[in-house]
């Protein structure tokens, strides 16, 4: 079970998909918005910090050597 506020939100959202009324009118309080934003950036930063796979370096090196270019 989720808390009461979550349930209310979930109920409200489940009926909305096309009119978008709730989506444009309802706003999250700034604290919740910040928590969501922090989570999103933390998850994203983790992905961003992964080393670039060699295949991409090799791909760009290869194309670099082929001076005719791909056209």
């Amino acid at each position: 079970m989720t808390g009461d506020k979550g349930n209310k939100l979930a109920r409200a959202l489940s009926g909305e998909p096309t009119n978008g009324k709730l989506g444009t009118d309802a706003k999250l309080d700034s604290g919740s918005q910040k928590r969501i934003g922090d989570q999103l950036r933390a998850m994203y930063d983790e992905l961003m910090q992964q080393p670039v796979p060699d295949r991409f370096k090799e791909l760009l090196d290869q194309l670099d050597r082929k001076k005719d270019g791909p056209q």
Partner: protein, 179 residues
């Protein structure tokens, strides 16, 4: 046509952001890397269309997004429920609810409608303005704003963050006392 070294560097520098976006969109690292590779190949083949001085990142993200959607449409005809399997695979202890971690967040993100997910990723994580995100997605700025807002509301509902000050096991009790 020669690849100038700084262009090569610029493309390479864009890769981590493209990968993060592709992984978050598709939920699959292998598929994301294929998407990034296809994006780079397409960008190199169409460099003559890129206007120097404009935003290279936004251009690359536009290519990646378009490839993702055409690929997704293709797969949708072939495979049943391509997104459902992603959510199911990532869903670990869905009733846990005690603390939020990236796993919970990823599941909630994966369950967003894809237009809302991409809007939130572009604006909230990739650092694009609403205007840039609108141009990447080929829609109006107001549409992006509305999608981002709806995405946040859905995430807040899914993760139950909206009335919890401190994430902990007694949050339900506290929520009950507040009402």
């Amino acid at each position: 046509m020669t690849q100038e070294p700084d262009l090569r560097e610029a493309l390479l520098a864009a890769v981590p952001g493209l990968r993060a976006f592709a992984i978050s969109l598709s939920g699959q690292v292998d598929k994301a890397d294929d998407l990034v590779q296809d994006t780079l190949l397409r960008a190199l083949a169409n460099l003559h269309r890129f206007q120097p001085g404009t935003n290279l990142n936004a251009w690359l993200f536009t290519i990646l997004r378009n490839l993702f959607h055409s690929e997704y449409r293709k797969r949708r005809r072939e495979v049943e429920d391509p997104t459902g399997s992603f959510a199911a695979r990532l869903k670990v202890q869905p009733e846990q609810g005690v603390h939020l971690d990236f796993e919970d967040f990823r599941v909630a993100l994966s369950e967003l409608p894809s237009d809302q997910r991409e809007a939130l990723l572009l604006v909230g994580a990739s650092g694009f303005s609403y205007e840039e995100a609108a141009s990447i997605c080929g829609c109006a700025v107001g549409t992006i704003k509305s999608r981002v807002n709806r995405a946040r509301l859905r995430l807040a509902a899914a993760l139950n963050v909206s009335d919890i000050d401190d994430l902990g096991p007694d949050s339900m009790t506290r929520a009950a006392l507040q009402n």
